[in-house]
Chain length 248, copies 2
């Protein structure tokens, strides 16, 4: 499948935010690159650690433009990395980069994974993800809302632990409440849940609450939301899901 | 919630295997510890990078014993870390450590997340996880098989991307085949899938195949299996899921 590539473009997951939450490989790749491309907010988290780089940024929703920018730089022979917060693949830029890459056959793409918010948020809360889990984005910018709700219903009935990405925005202020109402139709209102905010950044916080309480939680675009399964419990103030239904 | 803790036990996700796949924080924690506790195979991957440490290991399935061992060391005031492959929380040791921790109130537990196989395998294959996904373990050691199949059915119908952990073992040789038969009842047999093996270790490999072909794939305990959604495609030899159903 591999063709002869003249150049290489890296897509790097930087983890939740702090430099030390990145993998050693991710940091080495960024340090070896000349050009760093990314969404303004994430690039600003890196600047102080990467002197003498060229930084190219685009605002949110300008992702395809950002990909073209990165491929143009790589095509000119510059060592280039596109950075994403969290993992490069989970709701990240790896997919649009690989798609745009069809127009740049001389540039090979290498993906460097990172710690996504489901993992960094879970570590802060305790161990909510120890059993089967789903990641669901509540953003309906590219996915019909009925598809999202069908997934919430399916995950609720099959007792998956659920992680909600993009639980709210100004335009979608009540989506988390709607999701909770769907969950409450089949799950116990005392199901233990968690919220994390600004993981690895200034003001990092987390809280444990019930599904009933989660319904009224004021989530925003920096919040990641966790819904436990039927066995999830609080232990010494940490949210813990057992490894299975036979685990004691 | 926090009580006065005299000692600290770290639970560290080391990523898929190679030292550079660990976060900078994980490596710093392990380097600062005196005692490293873990499953023999994972500890052996670390030894060459950590001179002058005390290594304590137990075989697989002896997890509670391993937790007790770690708490005893931490209680004696030794800087101690329990290591897990991948992430500390996803089917990892964070949960049993927090549970056993109830008996060691003087020891606080700090979880350091890592890159789980879903993320490292996805990066190798391309970008299969870009949309909503489920992680499901096919091990029925601690979970009734009917619960696992109900989750496979729910994930299949709601068109989640699926990652199977523990797809096979000697005792469960045909579980992946059974899972595929359930998926084939509702999903297109040409659905694009991927398998990864020994990520970040010697002999690392990956392959893209259809759901029909996956049914006969000889998975083992070092394999991670990916099943795409209805939109997953192959682009320049990489497995790519679009960011949503409206993404082109």
């Amino acid at each position: 499948m591999e063709t002869e590539h003249k150049h290489l473009l890296y897509v790097v997951g930087m983890g939740p935010g702090a430099w030390e939450n990145m993998t050693i490989e991710a940091a080495a790749v960024l340090q070896a690159c000349e050009v760093i491309v990314g969404y303004t907010v994430y690039v600003d988290l890196l600047r102080s650690h990467l002197a003498d780089k060229t930084f190219l940024t685009t605002p949110m929703t300008r992702e395809i433009e950002r990909c073209e920018m990165a491929f143009r730089e790589a095509s000119l022979g510059r060592r280039t990395a596109m950075v994403c917060s969290g993992d490069a693949g989970v709701y990240g830029m790896a997919s649009p980069v690989l798609t745009v890459g069809a127009r740049y056959p001389a540039v090979a793409v290498r993906i460097v994974p990172g710690v996504t918010a489901a993992l960094s948020g879970a570590a802060l809360l305790g161990a909510p993800l120890t059993h089967d889990f789903c990641a669901i984005s509540l953003s309906d910018r590219l996915t019909p809302l009925e598809t999202i709700w069908a997934r919430v219903d399916a995950a609720a009935r099959a007792d998956f632990v659920i992680v909600f990405y993009n639980p709210a925005s100004k335009k979608r202020a009540d989506y988390l409440r709607q999701a909770c109402d769907r969950l409450l139709a089949v799950r116990n209102p005392d199901t233990l849940c968690g919220v994390t905010r600004d993981i690895g950044r200034q003001g990092e916080s987390c809280a444990i609450l019930t599904l009933r309480e989660l319904r009224d939680y004021p989530a925003d675009m920096f919040t990641t939301v966790f819904v436990g399964n039927a066995e999830t419990r609080v232990q010494n103030g940490r949210l813990v899901t057992p490894r299975g239904y036979r685990d004691v």
